[in-house]
């Protein structure tokens, strides 16, 4: 099955598409904050159907909100564009794989430096928390760029981190 999917390269090495062992559920909508709740409801539903508990469903919602918000705000430079989210079953069947895809400018959010988490109120910088939370919520987060697509792949185990 994997052969039917495009190979996505990163840093010169070929990345194998994730084996799609069961029907992939996906949603594709304009990259607008007005659609954020629809995206979040979609992954929430996928995670629940996958047997995730309430707390873990919230983790998935949070990571996806942060990722989709980044795309809506930065990927298309205020031009129109779309976001696609796919939910797949992970290799060990209990984990959930969520792929967030856009066709905007190359942007590896995961390369952002860690935010300041220790300064006092006056000195605390406001930015950078979104990507930090994605990393904390997902068991694995990877970014790939190929053929004009940004792909952020998040893997969630069923247990909370």
């Amino acid at each position: 099955m994997a052969d039917t999917l495009p190979k996505i390269s990163r840093c010169g090495t070929h990345f194998q598409a994730f084996p799609r062992e069961f029907a992939v559920k996906s949603i594709r909508l304009p990259a607008e904050i007005d659609n954020l709740r629809t995206f979040v409801s979609f992954v929430s539903d996928c995670a629940r159907k996958h047997g995730f508990g309430r707390e873990r469903v919230s983790d998935v919602e949070l990571a996806v909100e942060e990722a989709v918000t980044n795309v809506c705000l930065y990927a298309y430079d205020r031009e129109r564009g779309e976001v696609e989210i796919s939910c797949l079953q992970g290799g060990d069947s209990r984990s959930l794989v969520i792929e967030i895809r856009d066709w905007g400018k190359a942007f590896d959010a995961l390369s952002a430096p860690l935010p300041d988490l220790t300064s006092g109120l006056e000195d605390r910088d406001i930015g950078g928390l979104g990507v930090f939370l994605i990393r904390k919520m997902a068991d694995e987060a990877n970014y790939f760029r190929q053929a004009g697509q940004n792909l952020l792949r998040l893997i969630f185990s069923s247990s909370c981190r």
Partner: protein, 109 residues
């Protein structure tokens, strides 16, 4: 997101329920901005009915706390539910903004 405000002596108790995310955080920003304009300086944010917060919500809380402090006041939070508490702890907020178990405890600090 639901927001209600009640006054206890010189402190505004701002109760926030539901979800504080990219979509709703601006409502909280507007409410706090309005209260600060009215010279309110001390705030207790009651999150007893807040089920979910994202980085947008954290940003709004941080901005409100900075503005209140700059005006000579303060912001504290109370009654954090599990998801909100987890995000606060991860983001190091609990070490920056006082967090209490209940509104009463926050008012009597």
């Amino acid at each position: 997101m639901q927001i209600s405000v009640s006054k206890h002596d010189d402190t505004q108790v701002v109760s926030v329920g539901g979800r504080m995310d990219t979509v709703t955080a601006p409502e909280f920003d507007s409410e706090m901005e309005e209260l600060l304009k009215q010279d309110a300086k001390r705030f207790v944010l009651d999150f007893g009915k807040l089920e979910y917060v994202s980085s947008a919500g954290l940003r709004s809380i941080l901005v409100a706390a900075k503005k209140a402090k700059a005006a000579g006041g303060s912001v504290s939070c109370c009654a954090l539910q599990s998801m909100v508490k987890k995000v606060f702890d991860l983001a190091g907020f609990a070490a920056m903004i006082p967090v209490f178990d209940s509104v009463e405890e926050a008012l009597n600090r």
